[in-house]
């Protein structure tokens, strides 16, 4: 501001050399830029970075919200390793991620390839398949899902029609995981749209050339589609893995916030929430949160490190 005032205030003076003007203008632009960024910056430092640092401190303390935190060093992390429910929650989440994410991506890729070959009504289909991704994480869908899978719910009724009597899945510890995997697979729309965009980028000449050489559809898929799609696949896989690790709302609603029956829906974030806001062990919960951050960080790092072995960027000599 002062700079601008000075230049305009001394209007009679000769115009300064262009380089100085440019510098001043650039400085003013920088300030304006930061001014426009400030809502986001304030939000980031006050609502994200600040609380994250605070939770890093709390992870090394005992803190029950009522009294001031007391330093316990690595105590929380030692307790974590002895906590059978922590291991259970890690197991439940790992099962969910390792089964749910690949199935979801396979479904997404399959539908994307079908859509890529259709011409009529493509937009309509794309919207219809994408819709569950928009609403899938919502509370209402979790409630609907629960209603579908209880005793005498629609799934049970269909099962009985075909002569099976599976009973409600919600109350059966062996069936809750398939129920959650179905819920995530049903939301394949988001990765599907990305796959669809990726498929459009694959040059048609490659397929034509392969056809001329006598390659069948499976060979074309394995030798052309998959390698050409590998950057998109890498992106989707990473995104969906991180997304799956964070499952919370649906698990909270379907299990009534308990992680039951018999701990079969005790997802990591749900257990973290319970430790923090039901047992009021904020230090412990913060420690869990940081373990999750580190694990997700390692997974991401592994993805990036390994990508050079399996992700093919066109134009690269390989």
């Amino acid at each position: 501001m002062t700079l601008i005032a000075k230049t305009t205030g001394t209007g009679g003076r000769a115009i300064p050399p262009p380089s100085a003007t440019r510098r001043r203008r650039r400085a003013a632009e920088t300030r304006a830029g930061y001014a426009f960024l400030s809502p986001w910056l304030l939000g980031f430092f006050l609502l994200t970075a600040g609380p994250m640092l605070a939770s890093l401190y709390l992870a090394f303390t005992k803190y029950n919200l009522f009294a001031d935190p007391t330093w316990v060093g690595l105590g929380n992390f030692q307790l974590l390793l002895q906590d059978p429910r922590f291991l259970q929650s890690a197991k439940v989440t790992a099962t969910y991620v390792l089964l749910g994410t690949p199935i979801k991506l396979i479904a997404a890729l399959a539908v994307a390839m079908l859509l890529n070959n259709t011409h009529r009504g493509k937009g309509a289909y794309r919207s219809v398949f994408y819709a569950p991704s928009l609403i899938g994480a919502s509370i209402s869908i979790a409630i609907v899902w629960k209603a579908m899978f209880i005793d005498a719910g629609i799934v049970d009724q269909v099962g009985q029609f075909f002569g099976m009597s599976p009973g409600g899945w919600v109350g059966n510890p062996n069936m809750t995981m398939p129920m959650f995997i179905l819920l995530t697979v049903w939301q394949f729309g988001a990765p599907m749209v990305i796959f669809l965009a990726g498929l459009k980028q694959v040059p048609a000449e490659l397929y034509e050339a392969a056809s001329v050489d006598g390659a069948g559809p499976i060979r074309k898929f394995l030798r052309i589609t998959l390698p050409m799609l590998s950057p998109v696949l890498c992106f989707n896989l990473l995104l969906e893995t991180i997304h799956a690790v964070q499952i919370f709302a649906s698990a909270f609603i379907i299990s009534g916030g308990t992680g039951g029956p018999a701990g079969s829906t005790l997802f990591y974030t749900l257990y973290l929430y319970m430790r923090g806001f039901v047992d009021f062990r904020m230090g412990y919960a913060s420690a869990m949160a940081w373990v999750l951050v580190v694990v997700v960080g390692i997974i991401t790092l592994l993805f990036f490190r390994s990508s050079k072995f399996w992700v093919h960027y066109s134009g690269e000599a390989k």
Binding site: L79, I150, V170, G256, P261, A262, V278, D279, R281
Partner: protein, 439 residues
């Protein structure tokens, strides 16, 4: 035209702001009025919160409307939630020293709040603003921790065995005899389940839920065994063997699948097998009668005392419930105290709530309840009167971390019902958790 309209709106908005500013200023500078209760208040706004369902909310709203007739200067902003959400929110508020002015509290969480000074000591207001002359004094004592009156219970609950006479008739089993023991109760539960009767909806009728997986029933049993569940120093007054013994009571029922299946319990939530008319009996707090009658649609649901202990006594206790507290951070302690007094002692409020929060501690409220013979309220009051001779024990005062250890017990009970863990593993894990939660 458009610009003109905007200008008018702008001026109107500015005027409105100025007006409210003026009236606000006027309010705060005007002399505090002496109102009916002798409370000095200007126009103040206080917040009040509770847990419970819509039914309770509408009763609270009626009570607060009455309060506003008497204290027009006190505006009460209300909010409510279900039990578990309620406590998560309060804990977060406590961390920010921003608790509501008036809040419903429970014995289970009182210690956390008391030991760190989050609740207002109401001692100075008792006798002046809060009139407890017609109040059950043992109840008042229950809210006094470490010499500070941080809460006052609204009412009492005691445990009862609810049974559904119509369902029992269908099954062809009589309700337990008056002096039934825990073993007799087991026989009864098994007999009903073995009858193999079905509801109209095709669900099997069971005797009842596995009672051994509820923490409060364990405490009742411990009291009958002559133990003090929680000692004054915050330590536990029972050993692993005690818990093993209690859990073993229903081991045979669990093995023979004669108890209401847990897989079904989780699916009928928030109802229970009993209120779904799929189980014939259930132990619970006596103020549940209203909910049981409305959920099951059966007005004939009856109550009887809990099973008898080994010394031939039932050793029941009155649990102080629905305590009212004020946040220590309140800026209007007088107004908060006035509201607490009104809710606790006003006869009309007693009429509004009936026994939905338990039997009121204030004599005036008990007298004001219009007890139609055969009504839910009449049954609950009659029950507490009838069992008075059997209420010979002191209620176990929950230790710090009670909420967690109770939740742990319930969760492990679930695992036990599914056969995922043994009784020994249950007890071991519970004590390990309790060691951390209660310290």
């Amino acid at each position: 035209m458009k610009r003109h309209t905007l200008k008018v709106i702008g001026i109107a908005a500015a005027a409105a702001l100025a007006l409210t500013a003026c009236s606000g200023g006027g309010g705060s500078t005007s002399n505090p009025k002496k109102t009916a209760g002798g409370v000095e208040t200007g126009p103040v706004t206080i917040t009040m919160t509770w847990w419970g369902n819509d039914d309770r909310a509408s009763r609270y709203k009626q009570a607060i409307a009455l309060f506003n007739k008497k204290y027009p200067d006190i505006t009460v902003q209300i909010s409510f939630a279900d039990f578990s959400t309620y406590w998560s929110t309060r804990a977060t508020e406590a961390a920010g020293r921003a608790l509501p002015d008036v809040m419903q509290t429970d014995m289970a969480y009182l210690r956390e709040y008391s030991s760190n000074g989050h609740l207002l000591d109401m001692t100075p207001y008792i006798g002046s603003t809060i009139d407890l002359s017609g109040f059950d004094q043992s109840l008042v004592k229950a809210g006094n921790l470490d010499g500070k009156q941080i809460a006052i219970p609204t009412s009492t609950n005691t445990l009862a065995l609810f049974y559904n006479p119509d369902l029992l008739k269908q099954v062809g089993v009589d309700p337990p005899a008056k002096d039934y023991t825990w073993a007799d109760f087991n026989t009864f539960l098994a007999k009903v389940s073995d009858a193999g009767q079905k509801t109209a909806g095709g669900q099997q009728i069971y005797g009842g839920t596995d009672y051994a997986t509820t923490f409060w029933f364990f405490l009742q049993w411990l009291v009958q065994e002559g133990k003090t569940p929680f000692k004054d120093d915050g330590s536990l007054g029972f050993k692993e063997q005690d818990m093993k013994d209690f859990l073993s009571l229903t081991a045979d029922l669990r093995k023979a699948k004669q108890d209401y299946p847990f897989a079904r319990t989780t699916q009928v939530l928030p109802k229970t097998g009993f209120s779904m008319n799929e189980a014939t009996a259930e132990i619970s707090w006596d103020n549940f009668l209203a909910a049981y009658v409305s959920e099951s649609g059966n007005p004939n649901i009856a109550m009887m005392p809990v099973p008898t202990g080994k010394d031939g006594k039932k050793s029941m206790f009155f649990k102080p419930s629905m305590l009212l507290s004020a946040g220590a951070n309140t800026k209007h302690p007088q107004a908060a105290a006035a509201l607490i007094n009104f809710l606790l002692t006003e006869p009309e409020v007693g009429k509004i709530f009936g026994t939905s929060k338990g039997v009121p501690g204030a004599q005036a409220q008990r007298d004001a309840m219009q007890l139609k013979p055969g009504s839910v309220d009449a049954s609950v009051v009659a029950y507490e009167k009838a069992v008075k001779d059997q209420v010979t024990a002191q209620v176990p005062i929950p230790v710090k971390g009670f909420g967690s250890i109770e939740a742990d017990y319930k969760r492990l009970g679930e695992d036990l019902s599914y056969g995922k863990i043994t009784i020994d593993a249950f007890v071991k894990e519970w004590f390990a958790g309790a060691a951390i939660s209660t310290q």
